[in-house]
Symmetry: C2
Subunit: 201 residues, 2 copies
DNA sequence: TTGACAATAGAACGACCGTTCGTATCTTTT
DNA sequence: AAAAGATACGAACGGTCGTTCTATTGTCAA
């Protein structure tokens, strides 16, 4: 890896951290450069524009999520076990010290959902992909015989996402110490109403 | 009402609308003044600081929510009917044309959850109050004999909020035409798992 | 109608923003 | 070691930001 690529990674890493607290538009090239001991223009040259930097942060976030949450979950046996591992990893992801302000993707989603541009497009695509992956995991769980066959998998994905959203909100804004418990309860209820009759005991 | 108060209201109304799209920090006093045909300093004088303007917008949002969602719900008979009306009004609130970018409070929550200051404090207090009101409505529903007596009301409130969050996300970022259907399904499932055994049929 | 005061305007401020450009310094290759 | 190319710097740009003044206009009661 060349020197430039190393610097670039250092920048994105720090930007990722900052964006977690201050949002993407809260990122400032000047401040970022100062924190990293770089010149404004030197940092700028790596991305060509603020928009470019923001996109890199979003891509980094998506990659890390895949690496830290999705991939590990697929080591668990297909079915409910995998869904549980996915959920657990997701909560851990939202508490990752590398994201001191919580999930970058959630923050950016709320920030950009009514804008137009590549950042929004990337986010929407990424999130749609996540929902599809969740739905697919639910479908696999049906095939494994652990979920009822008439379960609406997209509905399941929607609700699972909702639980994590509520968790984020309770944890970050309300600082509710019971946030994690609440999230786990909600997820267990979701699982309980999804299981196949012969497994409901 | 004095002339000044009228102007002030016009300003807050427009700021409310803009904050829905661009967030509180996205508000710009200069831009706001131009849109309203006022001078920057003239507008500024009404609030004394940007922070003051932001607080007024948040207060206006909380008041409107109470007026448009909470109060009407209390005309419905206590119990599940009232909860349904509350939920329905909440979805409508999130689609209020006066908030072209969706619920101002949700946007601000995500924006401010990791900051410090009066804005964050106000939001946290307001949202905690909302959760408490939801929990109380659930408790009333228990007393009306429609919810099971061992229902965790705070858990119910947490999950109801989560459904609305998921709806907002699906609607705003993903532009999912099924968002409302999904939300309604999720809420019905929440109700179904909360009802007293003798009402479950 | 006049006098007191509230309400608005206008100009200017320092600070920070993203961006551009020319120049220097490092890396990497030959 | 020298040439070529990648990296980084420093200064400056036009703009916008929130904020502060002073001056002017408008409102409203006596």
């Amino acid at each position: 890896m060349s020197k430039g690529d190393e610097t670039r990674e250092r920048i994105v890493e720090r930007a990722f951290r900052l964006a977690s607290r201050d949002g993407l538009s809260g990122l400032s090239i000047g401040k970022l450069a100062t924190e990293l001991g770089l010149s404004k223009s030197g940092l700028f040259a790596h991305f060509g524009s603020k928009e470019g930097l923001e996109l890199e942060v979003l891509k980094a976030a998506a990659e890390r999520f895949t690496e830290q949450v999705m991939k590990p979950a697929f080591t668990a046996p297909r079915g409910v076990a995998r869904l549980r591992k996915l959920f657990k990893g997701w909560l851990a992801w939202a508490n990752d010290p590398a994201q001191p302000g919580g999930c970058v993707i959630f923050a950016a989603s709320a920030e950009l959902d009514d804008t137009e541009g590549p950042q929004r497009d990337f986010l929407a695509t990424t999130q749609a992909g996540l929902l599809a992956a969740l739905a697919k995991s639910a479908r696999i769980t049906i095939e494994a015989g652990e979920f009822r066959r008439d379960l609406d998998c997209d509905q399941f994905a929607f609700e699972m996402l909702g639980v994590v959203y509520a968790y984020h909100h309770a944890r970050r804004l309300l600082r509710d110490p019971k946030a994690e418990l609440r999230a786990k309860n909600a997820f267990e209820r979701l699982l309980a109403t999804s299981v196949a009759p012969e497994n409901a005991n």
